[in-house]
Amino acid sequence: MIRDKRSEYLAALILVGPFIAIYGLLFVWPTIQMVMLSFTKAPLIGPGQWVGIDNYVKILSHRLFQNATWNTVYFVLLTVIPNTLVSLAIAMAVNRLRGWKQGFVMACFFLPYILPVSVVYLTWNWIIDVQYGLIQYIVRPFNGGEPMSLTRTIPFFMPTVAVVTIWWTLGFNVLLFIAGLRNISPEIYEAASLDSAGRWRQFRKITWPLIWPVTALVLTIQLIAQLKIFDQVYLFSIGGRQDPTIVMVQYVYKLAFQQNKGGEGAAAATILFAIIIILSVVQYQALRARGEK
């Protein structure tokens, strides 16, 4: 029996070991390092002097930080709810289709999701191109016949990137909604039809409440994902003025990698880290509370 236990421990050690090593080295250790670094005045690489909370004070009053925070929030507002609603509408439409048609349409919506961000960027950058882009056929009449660069005109930057992002990531949410819609038993709808409830009423009284858990899930995943936004915003802002459209992760990148301010960068990263953890926990608790009711 004792020998048995010992061999079990050994097996566990060997099996869990690799993951624990990876986890410790590449997750726990960097997290501790990040917090430590955020209290020092240090370059990106090399030692620094302990300055307490100076970096935090400095950053919080930094115009660019406020910009980055606002732009991130703005981007979240522009993407999360529209994406969820559009996905739900598409899922309901796709769910009505049958057989190969359903598979085909779903694949069409899903295909963009699996493409690398740079492919999405190049494709859309061509479509919105100021000289030859297809979008200019729509833009020109509204701009006095003149073409306009949507990503170089600051008020249009975030909405444009948001539309591209929604197009890109829709498929994932559509998939989750379809899974949710399939779980609603058809008998409920049949009963509703017998009571001669119209389409809208059926949606309000049956589909919406029953799909709500999936909606909450989609909203959560979206929220957390969009707070971490970097790739698209960075790529679309190459060659333009980046500061007015900067987002949080880009701010960290700018401080640490472009200005070589490791300490301040780490402080910004720690703030982002804290915001996301807090939101995750709050969201998790909210979902759990609803589940227990």
Binding site: S7, E8, Y9, A11, A12, I14, L15, V16, P18, F19, I20, I22, Y23, L25, L26, F27, P30, M34, L37, L44, I45, A107, C108, L111, P112, I114, L115, P116, V117, S118, V119, Y121, L122, T123, W124, W126, D129, Q131, Y137, F172, L175, L176, A179, A216, L217, I221, I224, F230, V249, V252, Y253, A256, G265, A266, A269, L272, F273, I276, I277, S280
Partner: protein
């Protein structure tokens, strides 16, 4: 509507540059022209970018699947001290934004002199707690009798894992492997930071570097986009079911 932008990119890549910038919308090239592809192939390092992407994504997939399956088996089937704490840590890891750790990953990789190497690209991408949680859920539901029977026959834990638990969950393994591979192939931020030399870039990072000495050449840019998207698009079209299954499983964990 949904795939039109992709269609438009593909069509553009086969047009001649004069046709690309001609006015009007032509939905089909007047003549199939592969000049853009030849140019990208001959004038960029795309060949080595492909190799970098293929090697790093494959090794990430292998590492994630093997370490996750082993860890999940231990957490699910073995009794050892610290089990609960490890599981809680894994759940916690899940919420953490890896994007916030870029500075420290960079510093760490610089200390190990791994920047601009495959190892440097791979290592920080090995932390994927979702696969452990999905595996654990599936291993939990394997009836205990299977393990007991195997152990009566004298099979150790490793044999039990590799001969029974993994084959029984082969569908999940392939689904998780495909989605891990796609994710690794597509990842941008970390490879963008870790591989700055033209020779060590991955495909998604490399194609953002394609510029032309004579200004923007749209057909060539689209050809590079098609070449970068083709491998994942192919994987997706071949394994559609597995991809969607894996996504639903991992999303289910998050809720």
């Amino acid at each position: 509507m949904a795939i039109f932008p992709i269609y438009w990119a593909v069509v553009t890549s086969f047009k001649s540059e004069t046709e690309v910038i001609a006015s009007g919308i032509s939905l089909w090239p007047s003549q199939i022209n592969t000049e853009a592809y030849q140019h990208i192939w001959n004038n960029t390092n795309i060949g080595s970018w492909y190799i970098n992407s293929l090697v790093t994504s494959s090794l990430i997939t292998f590492g994630v699947i093997v370490s996750s399956a082993g860890c999940a088996y231990a957490l699910s089937q073995l009794d050892f001290p610290g089990r609960k704490i490890i599981y809680i840590l894994i759940l916690a890891c899940f919420m953490v934004p890896m994007q916030a750790l870029i500075i420290n990953h960079f510093v760490l990789m610089a200390q190990f002199k791994l920047l601009n190497t495959w190892a440097g690209i791979i290592l920080p991408q090995l932390v994927v707690p979702v696969t452990i949680i999905v595996y654990k859920q599936f291993f939990d539901s394997v009836p205990r009798e299977f393990r007991e029977a195997a152990q009566m026959d004298g099979a150790g834990h490793f044999k039990t894992l590799f001969r029974i638990y993994l084959p029984m969950n082969w569908g999940i393994t392939s689904a998780l492997a495909i989605i891990t591979f796609i994710g690794a192939w597509n990842s941008f931020l970390w490879p963008f930071l870790a591989a700055t030399g033209e020779a060590t870039m991955t495909v998604p990072v490399g194609i953002t570097q394609v510029k032309d000495a004579y200004g923007i050449v749209y057909a060539r840019l689209m050809a590079s986009a098609v070449m970068a998207g083709l491998p994942v698009a192919t994987v997706f079209l071949l394994f559609q079911r597995r991809v969607t299954q894996a996504i639903m499983l991992s999303a289910g964990v998050k809720g």
